[in-house]
Amino acid sequence: MTLNIAAVGFLAAAVLAAEQATATTDPKLAAMLEAKDKSGKTIITQDERTYFDSLNDHLKELLSHAVQKDVITRPEHLGILLALQLRPQKMELLLQNNCVLCHSDSEVQTPEDLFSLASNPQSSPAHMNLKDLVEDVHFRSGLSCAGCHGGDPTADVGHEFVKEWPEKGRIKNRAWVVEFCARCHSDPSFMRQFNASLPTDQLAKFKDSPHGQVLLVKHDDRAPTCVSCHGVHGIRPAKDPQSKVFAPRVPATCGACHSNSATMAGFTQPNGAPLPTNQLAEYRTSVHGRALLERGDLGAPACNDCHGNHGPAPPGVASVSHSCSLCHSSNASLFEGSKHKQAFDQHNWPECSKCHGNHAIAKTNDAMLATKPGSLCGDCHRQYAKDDPKCIETANYFHQTITKMYDAQKTFTAVAEKLAAKGLDTEPIDNQLTELTDTLKKSRTYVHSFSHDTFQQAAQPGEEAVKQTGVLVKKAREEYKYRQVGLAVSIAWIGLLMLALYMKLRRLEK
């Protein structure tokens, strides 16, 4: 029994001693934490110190190790690392990476080689931001500097710079970059280790694209490489809102070159005309641009949704409708079976964009269907269908039916609101208005059938809803009138009763 107690006591003492040993901070590190500047102020700020205290023993040990090995030599350098306030997993990656530790010390690095916290491009190159680096998808996956640069990040000091990089002209001629990234990204078995769903055909697509042709065939440095869109040390997944290829940031990323007339000078379209530089400006005003950039609707298309990403190219005449139909499938399907399909093919017109435009797609309006001069249908028909009366009649029918439903919807919605405010039950009216709204939407889609009968079938429930709503509104108004009459009768009765009481009172008081 006594022996047991002694053994337990010994074990407890041993555990406590072990904890004491790990919790003890290295004297050199402790000195750095307490170091003061010339004005007597502690160099490590309170936030940094609090962060340090919250670190687990393993991370403190890694920090001590870096200090003992003179990778971290100054309290200012230690402060920079603590100021990142990284989560333990990332901090561990950072502390095991001697390259970054060394290249984040401004005392021993030139500004070009220094990873700094500053986001000021004057003090260090944009791709040398320490905060970006620790968020880099490669860094987070454990692919340290050595993955691209070579060398041993755990070695105390020294470089073995990457052999695959061209020794000369690698800054000016960037064609090597795509092949360099593709060493891993075109290798399915390698990529599977990190992200099995990531495609590995980027290089093949790129080579086939105008970007690839310009870079690899014409050796024109204005063409983009992987890093032009994805960044260098701060590469983030495409779904990360801070990524340069996150959907709402794609237009600006593409526009960085495509809106720059100097960069785009000399590039031409297939017909020989100069490549325009107003796509971004037009896109911003379009329904798609406003949905994506102003409302943050990630379902709205960015440049890459129509043009592709790693193999971007303008969709050809035949493929415009295929691009659009990825989202607007009903419209595309109706158009495919319409008379217009044949006519458009004969004229070699790009289907959707002929009426709706491409980058500056505006919100459609019902006036487009009118037949008077200045309207889309009317103008085109006068020129190409030679005022075929049947076509004009169909267009007029579309326009009138939709306008009638739209006007009725607007009027009845306002009436329903007023009736609801008067306390009437407008639920049946609201139900009919919902039917009308749905049919209106459907009818606008069915315009793309360019067929009187098909459109009529789609619009019929809406026309019925207009009639029903009219009946219900009339009924609600009658109900309100009934209430008013009821009130008037009640007031008359109460008034008579009051009069009788008053007469009685007067008689009694006499």
Partner: protein, 465 residues
């Protein structure tokens, strides 16, 4: 008169039948002889109690009709009210009358209470009548608060969340009381069950008990005669003259009620007086801006906002609740605090207190309504704008009140009204914080009262003596 023992004629018919069994003659005789005192003041004030009771009766009748369809429950409360107002014949009318009548009852009750205060009708021997009336006032607030949640719509849910949260600030008991009130940590369907039970059982039982006491006391002691007169110089027969006038007024109220219910079925559309059903409550939906309590709670809501998060080492809301508690305590104890009225003498200070209380409530209520916030940009600027515009309205109202009191009623004691006006000016027009302005005003008022006390009697006192 018809005393059989004195050889009088025995009543016949139903009255005789009842009288033989229940000896009602003394009661009838009491009522026949009962008189309402007439004095120097307007007689209309005497009808306000009756009008309040009329609205309460309407509440009971329409409430019973609503109960026939209302089903408390997560999936039924909102739906049953929706069904009642859209599908049940005249269901909309019953709900509309119930809601309008609730608000009109509170207006009538407040008018009744303040007129009693101004006429000093609380003086002996009617102290208990005042206290019972005060209890009825509290119970009516309880009716309003508990009834608000019952439709289980979005506005009611969030307003109740904000409202019940206030009790959390009560020292020591706060959390426990919150649990009791809500039936859990948050407002949930358990809260609805509690509020429903309170609204249709507990509060009506308490209310009927207190109102019976209140009416018995009034019938027993009669209405208060004008100040200074031990007995009324002349009177009006309660039966039939006063009672028939009462009924005439009730019928007029019924007309007004019906008209409002038909033309404004969801209320006048001002915050705190709007009962459109809207959307169903969703405990998981985020709270939205502009949640306001009913108009009669707005002054407390605004006063809570005027307190900083911490004051005197306590939480701001705790101090605020303490202040509100003191104000309510003073109001309840007025019959004992007003020593001059106790001795049947003119008490201008307490008349002024009533007017000051009205102006104090007006300023806070207007601010609670965000009057003057339209078009303001920054939140702080909006707050200043609201305080400024509300201050001007309050000052304008006060100017009218003071002029009328001075010229029409020859009042000469305005210390408390002045203190409230000073506070309104310092806060609303000069930008001082509400509490600093209140402190300065209270200190100056205290000095003025002390000076007035040591200087001797007031002009009114001299006049009355």
């Amino acid at each position: 008169m018809n005393d059989p023992e004195k050889g009088g004629e025995q009543p016949r018919g139903l009255r005789g039948w009842l009288d033989r069994r229940y000896q009602l003659t003394p009661l009838f005789e009491f009522l026949q002889h009962k008189e309402v005192p007439l004095g120097s003041h307007w007689m209309g004030w005497y009808y306000l109690g009756g009008v309040t009771m009329f609205f309460f009766i309407v509440q009971v009748i329409t409430g019973a009709l609503l109960l026939m369809y209302y089903q408390p429950g997560e999936a039924t409360a909102y739906e049953s009210i929706h069904f009642l107002t859209t599908k049940v014949p005249f269901g909309w009318l019953i709900r509309s009358i119930h809601s309008w009548s609730a608000h009109l009852m509170i207006i009538a009750l407040l008018l009744h209470m303040f007129s009693t205060m101004m006429l000093k009708a609380y003086r002996p021997p009617r102290e208990v009548t005042w206290v019972s009336g005060y209890l009825l006032f509290l119970l009516t607030m309880g009716f309003g608060f508990s009834g608000y949640l019952l439709p289980w719509n979005k506005l009611a849910y969030f307003a109740t969340t904000v409202g019940t949260n206030i009790v959390r600030s009560i020292p020591l008991l706060g959390n426990w009381l919150l649990q009791v009130l809500r039936g859990g940590q948050d407002v949930s369907i358990n809260t609805l069950y509690r509020f429903f039970a309170a609204h249709v059982v507990l509060l009506p039982l308490a209310f009927v008990g207190v109102i019976v006491l209140h009416v018995i006391l009034i019938q027993r002691q009669g209405m208060a005669p004008p100040l200074g007169a031990k007995a009324a110089p002349r009177g009006m027969k309660f039966f039939p003259s006063f009672a028939l006038r009462d009924v005439l007024l009730w019928l007029a109220c019924l007309m007004v009620l019906g008209t409002l219910a038909v033309f404004l079925p969801y209320g006048p559309g001002i915050p705190g007086m709007d009962w459109e059903l809207g959307q169903k409550a969703d405990p998981f939906a985020p709270a939205y801006a502009g949640i306001k309590p009913e108009w009669y709670f707005l002054w407390e809501y605004q006063l809570l906002k005027e307190f900083p998060p911490h004051l005197f080492g306590l939480e701001g809301p705790q101090v605020c609740l303490f202040v509100i508690g003191i104000l309510f305590g003073i109001w309840a104890a007025i019959p004992w605090l007003d020593r001059r009225a106790y001795r049947d003498r003119w008490s201008p200070g307490f008349t002024d207190l009533a007017w000051a209380a009205l102006l104090f409530l007006t300023f806070l209520t207007l601010m609670g309504w965000d009057i003057g916030a339209g078009g303001a940009g920054e939140e702080l600027t909006a707050m200043h704008n609201v305080a400024r515009v509300c201050a001007w309205w309050t000052v304008a109202a006060a100017a009218v009140v003071v002029v009328v009191r001075y010229w029409r009623f020859q009042h000469r004691w305005f210390v408390l009204t002045g203190a409230v006006l000073l506070q309104v000016t310092l806060h609303g027009l000069m930008g001082l914080s509400y509490l600093v302005a209140a402190t300065i005003s209270l200190v100056l008022a205290a000095i003025a009262i002390a000076v007035s006390y040591f200087m001797g009697s007031t002009p009114e006192e001299r006049r009355s003596s």
